[in-house]
Symmetry: D3
Subunit: 335 residues, 6 copies
């Protein structure tokens, strides 16, 4: 391999981001995907994909800790590569991404106020023309992100949702903004179109958590149905459900089996594998993805950082989807 | 979802058992499946399924620790749900279950005496009309349970047995009551009918551990045979082998691959997954299950409680099988 | 040792509580100190010391997880003995204690409402004549307990407080009921008498956390002062500060060095050892202790359960103090 | 099972190696597969398969620790059995194997010198007629082993290579002997025939790591291709590629999914399972295997020893392949 | 430092044992203190100190796992140095030691038979003129070792005993040979002279565990007494109690505080530190030490191997005591 | 506490650095002490203390992993406070510090070249007038830092050195630049004045590691001497040895007892505590400290991040020493 092979005409300024060939992976402050840290909104100019941490776990029903997710995901993200070997996407070359830091949240002791804090931040992100790719935090953070996106776009988004739970549950202890109910709220708020929503990997433990999904017209694929129909069919179904419209991708790590994601708040035995998750995500290539997140990584319950590693891999797969779309739109890809 | 939806006519007294909607899962003393603790035999009246701990690991050949299994399984059982999303079984509504505490064992330093202590306790359990569902402990505990059941019923039981090992081995260091031989003893004692016995997931490491199974007429499905025939075929085979007679289900967590059950005494690489185990167990619906156990969870060797979580999930799947049978017999299920 | 020696005239009914001689420590559902579980207030009659879990961590400023503290403390409490070898106290013989279960908290998403839920429960406890000994939970739980006690008694209590932080901080993110400020609130509410309050082990990291203590007249012993004056002098000082009046003992495990308490929310390097904590607690013998707690045990951050073990040891030391006082009052102790 | 059944005519001297029936697995100094320790080359007479540790990790690009691999693999190897239940191979009966200790490496601070130290040792091993089966160490150790073998045989070997990475990368930081490039060097040195080389499980993260493989004529099976074609087809392809010539088998544990091998230097999400690895290895029965290794087990990053366990299982599977070949050549197998 | 400084006239054959300067500590099969493995009694000729593993935990009352102690201690022993910096003892130069392997125990399921197996082995060891230094195993192993020594010598030994518990307890579940009672049995058997016995570090949890010690005339130093009198006084007291007669040293790691020994069966909060243990052991220099052991290291409960590390350090300190005595007797020490 | 109390006249721009009161500690990218990240040397203007990571562990003799130290130390540094409660130093107010990122090291496979890379970077740092405070990395990194400082200053520095080992060892495997010998090299290079050098906490395991220290005139305080003389005397001795000249402070975490620093390469039982380390470091107030480091934190061997926490606390204590000196020189401190 010659130096030319390594470079392939990529601007010098990008090399730092490329990884081991230029700088050891264990070296340096850990930012998402080793991209440049741009915490100040004034520095967002030119950023196409914003990698953002949402360190909030005030909405969990059982085990907390997802507030520590962003740092753990940043740390494991230093293992990510510079090309998607299967799809050929080169995320750092085809789109400009940056680490925008963590969402500032003042409502750390108030679920509803935290939700508002998050929405306010994402309103700025989408206003700046940045596609947000978020590392949670618990699943309650998706509602305000989705609200910001839909308000910015003037209409609801569709969603491909990987999870063990539908997260369309009712009020809990008098609160509707917990991590088991964001998508009920999103539909009620007009931020999410249930007919353009598909939920994959669903299982256990109570009807209250999936009744609304069925009633509102979402497509629900329970885990045993996923295996019965096959991954390819599920992907085709997802593409069919969301169509060409703006689509959000939300990946709750507890959709994976607990051996792939032990570090999470409400593990459910019997989920899909990381490879299967990658395959499904890669199948979404070409969709109009307007935002994405990986949520419910709880480092204190993790072991060997396996949940953070698998989680950030899915975040990277989403980044590839976004970079492919952006790269094509901007004419950066020579085929 | 309205309150009516949540309740669906279930008695108020049951709500406590239902989980997160009424009480956080992390709250309260951990009993099996968050069911009522009824340690005193005088309080067993009305109990249909008895959830029992058997904290004994005096029969292991390598790594000990299964004596700590019941507490770890109780702790993880607080994650279990109130409905089986695939089969629709509602275990807490369709049968009355309770945590009967741990088997009192005086023979902690004597394998044979411990076996007798266990049998004596289960004799009381079955005499009270309770179907026992046990959390081990090592596999040596199954023999006395099986003896108690077969004596009570006046004849041998059949068995669906998930494991990496046949556990029909010969004497070891002059003792036959170790964890590698309970089913040889059970056949010799007339407690187990080998022709109505199927062993699934078998692999490694020595003929001595499976010769008796073949010689006595058991059906042995090695792990590579399981994958070659498919899970559905294996389930069909199991149903065929045990038929309509009284059947015991024994689940050794080392039947699963070690990544699903690192916390066990004698891990064997190359087992089935937790999802596959669930699928096989759910395939046993409708059989006349007279008892069951999950054994060989050794918490000191576990990581992130994954073995306890997967183990108790299987215990819960068995509870669903039992509740379905009982619910139908008692006319509690409106279809 | 003869059987007589073992028994020493203790009622047969108590033997179960005594531990290893009668029942293996790993056996049975884990209740606090292996005492009887009496969750129903109707069953509190005759209970003198109530062992209670307060599974709440909504007030932390950094690492959560203390909601899982009560279960971890219950589990490690099975290692506790039946006699205090240094003081000679026999806690299970000299006072009637029971595990009253966990405080029911509905305000899991609302700090202020949770505080009220806790106070309501303890109002019932003290009304029943029970001395509460609580396992947290984060330190925000102490305020409502103290309120309930002081209201019941009609006046403020004194306090011996072991901690790395004074926990008399100001509002945080607009809330005053977080885990860094309970004792400021308690003073303001008239529940705590600052002149009868001593805080031991204080160190790091900001004046905001100790200014109020000095201003209100509390006695603050920073860790370097503790070592400079010696443990005996500190104990004497504590006895002098609280005097003969009603006194609460609050033990935040982060007062100990992080190697003794890694599993906590805000560890501070350079604390006292577990032995030193025991020595100081034993030095409080004879005081009029009207309640106590051990807080800030966060199991997800713990390792080898060392924080839970050290924490529950301190809870047991408090139980000995209470049992000694009660036993003397009731004339149960033959000297 | 009678004593005769246990013995089956095997020499008394072998019994010790057989495991649990004769000696508890937790007992004794841990040597590879519990075989005799023969560190002195003068004691290698009669040894057919040499089990060797190569404690070197000076060639890693990210996380170190593989220097501790040999001890961890030895420890877990005590769990290995005495018969391969699927293939029927009895490795300890069909070939004479011994633990030759660890390669002495003086160049611990010099990558290139270490490579030479390793080659010098293996030159002695192969000169003694011993087939080397090595536990790494990082993947840089394979180059000198391969050199020694090819020099001894007078020509390049073929290879079946399981890995996430092709390890045919270019120079890194001015060095070509790192763990990402051994097979480029081996081809360049004439030690490895690229047309008789197949690489299975390849994925992520950069073309630089696989361009040479394609250019030199190696057969590369990426992970998604592996699943698309099926394991049987991949095995057939491997047998076809290497043919009847001398073949080396190199197993990098990071070819497995990180849940099966968290303890490794450069984990890549989305690999094959341990069962699949076993199946592929067993499919190589009958090939002329002249050496093998398991590399990149990094115990400090492992959890519950799962990587070491899975790694040593693969080492044992290779031992079975070698023993089968040797046993047939020596006429030891009665079919 | 010149080569001469390194060598100091030590025979070439010893260099291997000396550690890092000659061979990396992570390299090679782990034997005790990296001494030669001599499992065959025929190879014991010339051995002066025998390093022996006793992998038995059948006598524990709570947490098992000490059967895995010897391997963990061997692994950590590779960190031990070649000179005692404080006392100047050079253990590998002043005495010939070897790793004699593990005690063969057939009575793995029978406490009493195991005790006999152990005694039989040590009878051979002492008959060969070897001073045994043992790594347990639980404390029940000390009785048979002591029996073998006292029978060989024709009279009881004295003992310096470091522990949290006196281990002179009565029968438990009908057995006297458990880990809480070896020294009661040893006195009753005439193997131990209670008046020449001192027990240091004693605390918790029941009189039954120390009454016999007092009654029989042993000197018991509770932990608070140890700190009150000071370590130097305690050492002086120990030397006074055992005098010039043959003395056994038994070190139960639970004598140390649980942060120094989390990996043990019955941890007791509030023990001495590792440094204090070293200081006390070094204070025993010159005594006639006829055997020693380190017991109750339970690796499955350990974290970061800290218990094994601290345990083997104490074993090494005992080795220094033995080597000093032997070296002086043999005239090997030039002062 | 009023807002004025919180602010105390500190510039608004500093508040972000102050911690929990303004921003949760778990939030945001982890930089050292939550100070601004300034990786570009062009941005160093005005920086007074440079917080730098040196991710290199190529010089270890046993367990690697210290290359991962800087990230782990950054993560734990978010727990550090804004005032030193004992000395009153306010490090963020009294000096301008920044996170300068990690030293770029190209010689990852060459010990000597890495040493040169490090020196080149620090030459730039000191040329910019920045006092370097480094997080290692193994101890081999101190040599090039010291070289850069001494060259810049035109003469050797003095040193206060906390460690279990003198690190003045001879060549190892033909290399002198390993982690056991930096201070021998530094003396030989004229970078370190041995008569102005004190080494505290020394113990085990070989003379080769301390002979040079004595011979060259360093003051060596073995751990038992430290306790015999007392910490205050040791501090006085240190102040006396280094005097008023430029002094470097090097803190190897293995100077602490392994329970305080399990995550390190060559742990030595029997060290000082974290509190004692703090006390000694605080005793150095007022010295002319020209650089400092905390080395040998190896996260893969750590547990509960205790080593990283204790290590970064010492780094923070050094920052306080530096800030006090700088603050006084700049007239920022109102006494």
């Amino acid at each position: 391999m010659s130096d030319d092979d390594i470079d392939r005409g990529v601007p010098e300024a990008r090399k730092l981001a490329w990884g081991a060939v230029y700088k050891p992976r264990y070296s340096g402050v850990a930012t998402f995907m080793r991209q440049e840290l741009r915490e100040d909104p004034d520095a967002w100019d030119g950023v196409e994909v914003g990698l953002i941490g949402a360190p909030f776990d005030g909405g969990v029903t059982n085990r907390p800790g997802a507030r520590h997710g962003p740092r753990a995901l940043r740390d494991q993200s230093t293992l990510m590569g510079r090309v998607n070997h299967q799809t050929g996407v080169r995320p750092y070359d085809w789109a400009v991404s940056a680490d925008l830091g963590d969402v500032p949240i003042e409502g750390v002791y108030e679920l509803d106020r935290a939700i508002d804090d998050i929405e306010a931040f994402y309103a700025k992100v989408v206003a700046a023309g940045v596609v947000p790719l978020t590392a949670g935090g618990d699943h309650s953070i998706t509602l305000p992100i989705m609200r910001a996106i839909s308000k910015h776009r003037g209409g609801p988004v569709g969603m491909v949702h990987f999870d063990a739970h539908c997260d369309t549950g009712p009020e809990l202890f008098g609160h509707k903004h917990h991590h088991g109910g964001p998508f009920r709220c999103a539909v009620e708020d007009g931020a999410l179109d249930p007919r353009r929503t598909i939920q994959i990997g669903i299982r256990g433990p109570a009807e209250a958590l999936w009744d609304f999904s069925y009633d509102s017209g979402m497509t629900v694929i329970h885990i045993e149905e996923l295996y019965a129909m096959g991954l390819d069919a599920a992907v085709a179904r997802a593409r069919d459900v969301v169509g060409a419209g703006p689509t959000y991708v939300s990946f709750d790590v507890d959709g994976m089996d607990p051996v792939y994601a032990p570090g999470t708040g409400t593990p459910e035995v019997g989920g899909f594998t990381a490879f299967e998750a990658q395959k499904m995500l890669r199948g979404l290539m070409g969709l109009d993805i307007v935002g994405g997140d990986v949520v419910e990584v709880s480092p204190p319950f993790d072991t060997a950082n396996i949940t953070a590693l698998n989680g950030v891999q899915m975040m990277w797969e989403m980044l590839c989807l976004m970079a492919d779309r952006i790269g094509r739109e901007k004419g950066r890809i020579e085929t």
